[in-house]
């Protein structure tokens, strides 16, 4: 690594967090107090602010924006809360393609479009959500256009417009860590401020999770602030989670793999634009297979498809196989870019193997492909809360999800329609907003006992009160080392996943309860680390359970698609004893409600 000579000298804590895993700590001669938690603030002095609203929207991306606007317009008192800034956190800032089904210009009917997606997705998509995307995308695009979204590459100002016009309260830089359930339905949420010594509680009749998906803070994809926060909070209170076995297969560059901005060419600089029907079957993980079988390095781009590829591996259905003419340097400019949406949504050429892959975005340096850029993330819209209807409701009354937090399987377990992720977030956000407002209108405000709130606050602040513990950055790095290798996360096989699961269970049982935080930033890292550990467990268990290969899920020990046993999604939930349970849910069926 170059450039370290200019690096600020890391504090002793940071240094330990970085090197503790690799070096024997005793060899550093730093004595016994290394794990001591030198808290920079007084946890006892942390206050709480309490809010109340009909509809609470958690998350400030594309889905959150529409959820809040539509819930407000439907007459509900609405409040937004976000870990980052509106339009400048999660994947929304980096998604440049917005799919629009415009009946005036499309030659194909919506029915035909849905069928095409379903064929490409090999049945893994939920056609109800695929159809919804096509039906509403044009209206959402029109609203975004009014707000100025298509006028510049940064989304904050255009997103602020409808929010300030409507006077919707917006609290930014609050990390929500807990959903609160009372009397069998959602009652609110709680978290803490990054900038103040303050916890925040919000009593709400309904909550819409627009918290995005997440990853393992990987290198090469701007998803490091997303750690499946919404899914994990919801899982903790009994929501069902799906889609964890699918894999986003983006790769990055071998030179400075973490440099997302340059790795994506001019993508982050682009002004968003709309695109029409174009259905692919963009795998990405086929490059992982080539790398696994042939060794490294793997050149990115079209060569993979043409230069003596190893037989086998993830399969693209005949109808959707694309050929790539040789081309010079620059990115193939498909307005709206690759499939999927946020990054893929706008990314020219889509996931790695289909062109830009090796060096997403192509110029300025192509170089060799480096896998795992988006490690820990599934296909957009495939993982998240299980919807129980076509209006983004979860199995917990009053709890909704939209966008990447909802396991709608809108595109399926593979990237199909390009630019559909960003559009899908807008469409689902609007639908969830209206549904939540309607639900809130018919019920009384929940009451949360003070003891419950005190208990939640105690849980939130616990890592600040630990005298010693594990640094969240170190635990995260350990998790990355276990999960990100190609032979664990992408080219799956039972013994290796069992081994990884043993590691993850150790982190879950022994490290998670002992994570320490010295300040609010580290407290955020603690909860993100917790969420990544549970998400890793879900990914491994779902991948073990799915004994077939289909779309972006590839099992070396089960390389064929199994249409007899696996016309089904996998739903994950916590049982009464707190154990993780997995059940099949047949494709094209809503989950049974108990």
């Amino acid at each position: 690594m170059t450039g370290l000579h200019d690096a600020p000298v890391p504090s002793r804590r940071e240094f330990l967090a970085l090197s503790g895993g690799a070096l024997g700590l005793s060899s550093l001669g730093l004595g016994a107090a290394w794990a001591q938690n030198k808290v920079e603030l007084d946890p006892a002095a942390i206050t709480n602010t309490d809010h109340a609203t009909d509809v609470l929207v958690i998350g400030g991306g594309m889905a959150g924006l529409f959820a809040a606007v539509k819930a407000h317009d439907a007459g509900a008192s609405t409040m937004m809360i976000s870990k980052g800034r509106l339009g400048s956190s999660g994947l929304t800032p980096f998604a440049k393609g917005f799919f629009v089904y415009d009946p005036k210009t499309e030659t194909e009917s919506i029915d035909a479009f849905v069928d095409t997606v379903s064929r490409s997705a090999l049945g893994t998509n939920n056609p109800v959500y695929t159809r919804q995307l096509a039906e509403h995308s044009l209206d959402r695009a029109a609203e975004l256009k009014d707000w100025g979204f298509f006028d510049q590459n940064l989304a904050n100002r255009s997103f602020m417009k409808p929010v300030t016009d409507r006077d919707i309260p917006l609290i930014e830089r609050v990390v929500v860590t807990h959903l609160i359930k009372e009397d069998g339905r959602i009652a609110g949420a709680a978290g803490f401020r990054l900038d103040g010594e303050e916890t925040v509680t919000i009593r709400a009749k309904t909550v819409i999770l627009c918290t995005g998906a997440g990853g393992f803070k990987p290198s090469g994809f701007p998803v490091c602030d997303l750690t499946h926060d919404g899914s994990i909070m919801a899982y903790q209170i009994g929501a069902k989670i799906t889609g964890k076995e699918w894999n986003d297969g983006h790769s990055g560059r071998s030179v400075n793999p973490a440099d997302c901005y340059n790795g994506w060419g001019d993508m982050f600089d682009r002004v968003p634009s709309t695109s029409g029907v174009e259905v692919h079957h963009d795998l990405g993980v086929d490059l992982n297979y080539q790398a696994y079988m042939k060794g490294n390095p793997v050149a990115g781009g079209p060569q993979v498809a043409t230069d003596d590829p190893v037989a086998g591996g993830p399969v693209t259905p005949e109808e959707f196989v694309r050929s790539f003419p040789a081309r010079e340097g620059g990115p193939r400019d498909e307005a709206g870019g690759g499939p999927g949406g946020p990054p893929p949504g706008g990314r020219p050429g889509g996931p790695p193997a289909d062109g830009e892959g090796g060096a997403p975005g192509g110029p300025p340096m192509r170089g060799y492909a480096m896998g795992g850029a988006s490690a820990g993330m599934a296909i957009h819209k495939s993982e998240g809360l299980v919807p129980i209807d076509d209006r983004c409701a979860s199995n917990i009354p009053g709890l909704y999800a939209a966008g990447d937090a909802l396991g709608s399987h809108m595109a399926g377990g593979i990237y199909t329609q390009i630019g559909s992720s960003l559009a899908g977030s807008a469409v689902q956000g609007a639908i969830a907003g209206e549904a939540a407002a309607e639900f809130a209108a018919g019920i009384k405000a929940p009451s949360i006992p003070d003891t419950k709130l005190a208990e939640v606050k105690e849980e939130i602040l616990a890592p600040l009160k630990r005298e010693a513990g594990y640094g969240p950055a170190w635990v995260t790095q350990t998790l990355q080392g276990v999960m990100i290798p190609n032979f664990v996360l992408y080219i799956k096989k039972e013994p290796m996943m069992r081994a990884a699961l043993a590691y993850i269970e150790e982190l879950r049982d022994h490290h998670m309860p002992m994570l320490r935080a010295a300040n609010m930033h580290e407290l955020r890292l603690v909860f993100e680390t917790r969420n990544m550990i549970l998400s890793a467990e879900m990914k491994l268990r779902a991948s073990l359970m799915r004994t077939e290969s289909r779309c972006s899920h590839y099992r070396l020990d089960y390389p064929e698609m199994d249409t007899e046993n696996w016309q089904a999604w996998i739903n994950i939930f916590k049982d009464a004893e707190g154990r993780m349970q997995l059940v099949k849910q047949p494709f094209a069926a809503w989950p049974r409600q108990t």
């Binding site: 980052g84 400048s88 956190s89 830089r173 480096m370 950055a473």
Partner: protein
């Protein structure tokens, strides 16, 4: 080394707010932005693009070792 330097900061806090990963904070004493948690920088350049006075420089190297799928 990820986000590298801030020169000519006017303390408007745009970068602090627009950083998805909470890397930058405003120093209460000087009223200027400081790179407090560089290890968490995802090199997305949003801070630089939101900065009204173009004060931020970013380098392509991550400040901590990175974990990738193969190498």
């Amino acid at each position: 080394m990820t986000i590298n330097s801030i020169n000519g900061c006017i303390g408007c806090e745009e970068c602090v707010k627009s950083c998805p990963c909470d890397v930058i904070r405003l120093d209460k004493e000087t009223g200027k932005a400081v790179i407090l948690y560089p290890a968490d920088c995802q090199i997305c350049h949003l801070c630089r693009m939101y900065c009204p006075v173009d004060a931020i420089e970013i380098r392509p190297e991550k400040s901590i070792p990175v974990v990738v799928s193969w190498g």
